[in-house]
């Protein structure tokens, strides 16, 4: 009883502390000037409103800007004038910062799938949630670079993670084909995660493993069709290994872990007021092995993905989007290599931006584990059914406070096998915080 009362007291204290922290931060932010301007706005002396309907969501012109090699026609005039027409140095170091900090109350736990040991924190200061340094500039008539590095993402203090990092070359050899080489997300060809309004993610992209990878993507518009064709290593952006002779290290490193490449394509077209897209990808992934499938196996297994996406607008203030992905993971589990696994999922969302101060979003994620259900592996966790409701208040164009509530519609399960897998804890949460770019 004493313990319960103590927990309630602790919870109240944490809540009070959170409210005080939020109040202080709100007050401090309201005192800030309007000088904070992200890099593109600085370079072209434009308001953030030129490209964003509500930061970070892009408006029609922002999408055009991104597609147009991230530049405006007068980009050369914004470069340092050194009297050398073959030198387009940015006249300042083109850096911008994005920072997020949150306070969250949640029901989700961290659960060890092998031992069942769990950690629970009813309230959680996730501040800073991330600090991101971004940079981009046009370097020549055709070439632009872009990258960002995240410091201490999601509490990983001491870490720096480079995610998007690429060169793009517009109009390759005068062919009308644009090329992008570097690290990027395959899913960016559908709905870029980085410009979504909710805190909650587009979960199916992460589950399907079509977020960050290293590779090349070619884009071209053919009539009403926007076509993208890409090739990636297929093993993410963390892996690399020393090339040696044998055992004696050479300076170069191998980023891929096999010779096969993931091939993906996206075809998009506007059909009336609706933007429709079809996505397909095929490649290899390492099998899952070990207790509850927590370890990476040695076999390369086939994986295929087919996706459909649609989006549109209603009345100029409402944007809607829908995504569906079908996944085939052949022989994925070492426990039964002869079995092929199919699963599917998707999400649907609406952003309502009634004015310059407020944005409201609803995002529904729905994923089914399919053939991976009841496998007593962590892949039972593919199942998800949650609705996230988000209110964003813009103190400035580039500074917002958000409140998000997540409702988990999946029923809790109890472990049915040897391991602690399945939906063992509800994932409701409420989150307050700040998101800013300058």
């Amino acid at each position: 009883m004493m313990q319960g009362t103590g927990s309630v007291m602790l919870s109240r204290l944490a809540r009070a502390a959170a409210l005080v922290a939020i109040g202080m931060a709100l007050w401090m932010l309201s005192m800030r000037g309007a000088s904070a301007m992200p890099e593109f706005a600085r370079r072209y002396n434009l308001s953030c409103a030129a490209c964003h309907s509500a930061f970070p969501r892009l408006n029609q012109f922002g999408e055009h800007f991104a597609k147009n090699n991230m530049r405006l026609p007068n980009w050369m005039e914004t470069s340092k004038q050194l009297g050398d027409e073959r030198l387009a140095l940015p006249d300042h170091v083109p850096l911008a910062v994005r920072a997020q900090a949150y306070v969250q109350a949640r029901q989700g736990k961290t659960i060890d799938p092998v031992t069942g040991a769990s950690n629970y924190a009813a309230t959680d200061f996730q501040a800073p949630y991330l600090v991101k340094v971004l940079s981009s500039a046009p370097l020549s008539k055709n070439i632009t670079y872009y990258f960002y590095a995240i410091f201490a993402e999601k509490g990983g203090n001491g870490e720096v993670v480079v995610e998007d990092a690429w060169f793009s070359y517009a109009d390759l050899f005068g062919s009308g084909v644009d090329m992008l080489l570097g690290q990027f997300q395959l899913s960016d060809s559908m709905f870029p995660r980085e410009v979504r309004l909710p805190f909650q993610d587009y979960m199916v992209y992460r589950m399907a493993g079509i977020t960050y990878d290293r590779g090349v993507v070619f884009s071209r518009d053919v009539g009403p069709l926007a076509i993208q064709l890409g090739f990636t290593n297929g093993n993410g952006i963390n892996a690399n290994s020393s090339i040696n002779s044998p055992g004696f290290g050479r300076p170069d490193r191998m980023f891929d872990n096999n010779s096969s490449k993931t091939v993906f394509t996206h075809l998009g077209a506007d059909v009336g007021p609706v933007a429709l897209g079809v996505f397909a990808a095929t490649g290899k992934q390492r099998s899952a092995t070990g207790p509850a499938g927590t370890a990476m196996g040695l076999r390369d297994t086939d994986k295929r993905i087919v996706g459909l996406d649609a989006s549109g607008q209603l009345g100029g203030t409402v944007n809607w989007y829908v995504q569906y992905l079908w996944n085939a993971w052949d022989g994925f589990l070492d426990a039964d290599p002869s079995r092929n696994y199919r699963w599917q999922g998707g999400f649907a969302g609406v952003d309502w931006i009634p004015n310059d101060r407020w944005a409201f979003s609803a995002l529904y994620n729905h994923d089914r584990a399919g053939d991976l259900a009841h496998t007593h592996t962590i892949y039972e966790g593919l199942a998800m059914s949650s609705l996230s409701l988000t209110s964003s208040y813009y103190f400035m164009r580039n500074v917002k406070g958000i409140i998000e509530v997540n409702f988990d519609f999946l029923n809790k399960t109890t472990p049915a096998g040897r391991y602690f897998t399945g939906h063992l804890s509800k994932e409701n949460y409420i989150l307050f915080g700040f998101d800013t770019a300058f």
Binding site: T5, V8, M37, D356, W358
Partner: protein
């Protein structure tokens, strides 16, 4: 059920209520005070202002950033994105790309109201309403009447030489210019 469990089970509804309250409290549909407006003035005033969305009014006027940077627009109007067009009878139309500095400081546009622009715009209208010619062609305020007439006649000759107006129109406008009386005369 322990107090902690009760709290856990209750908080989603509390959270939803908080979100709902926030939504109800927001000034939906209202332009937030002090955010993103652009004051447009012109010399001369009473000029027609056109933005990407179409006619916006007459100077002096105040528009919002979203009037200049709408979230959506027709592809055929893409060239007008972020632009302000100002037109005044007798003046050369002026287009201006809006910058962040403009939004901060306001926009004051000086129109070129020399006779050239007036004449270039005028021919079809002049043919229909010759009486409008003198009013549609005000010259520089500092120019004397003979200087203005000379400049008007030179421009008229250039228009005729380039076949932009017919000889009959040229004759009719020439007569008008020569019949002009000085102010007060």
């Amino acid at each position: 059920m322990s107090p902690v469990d009760r709290h856990r089970n209750r908080w989603p509804s509390v959270a939803a209520s908080a979100l709902g309250l926030l939504a109800v409290a927001s000034p939906l549909g209202a332009q937030a005070p002090g955010t993103g407006t652009l004051r447009i003035e012109s010399v001369p005033s009473a000029a027609n202002v056109e933005l990407i969305g179409g006619p916006a009014g007459v100077t002096p006027l105040t528009v919002t950033e979203r009037d200049i940077y709408p979230n959506t627009y027709a592809d055929s109007r893409a060239d007008m994105y972020g632009m302000v067009w100002v037109r005044h009878p007798g003046c050369e139309p002026l287009q201006h790309r809006v910058t962040a500095d403009d939004i901060k400081q306001g926009l004051r546009l000086n129109l070129d109201c020399g006779v050239a622009s007036a004449a270039l715009e005028a021919p079809p209208a002049l043919a229909a309403t010759p009486a409008a010619i003198p009013a549609a062609a005000p010259a520089s305020a500092n120019a004397t009447i003979p200087e203005r007439r000379l400049r008007q006649l030179q421009v008229l000759q250039e228009l005729l030489d380039e076949n932009l107006i017919s000889p009959a129109e040229e004759l009719r406008i020439r007569r008008r210019i020569l019949q002009l009386k000085p102010p007060g005369g």
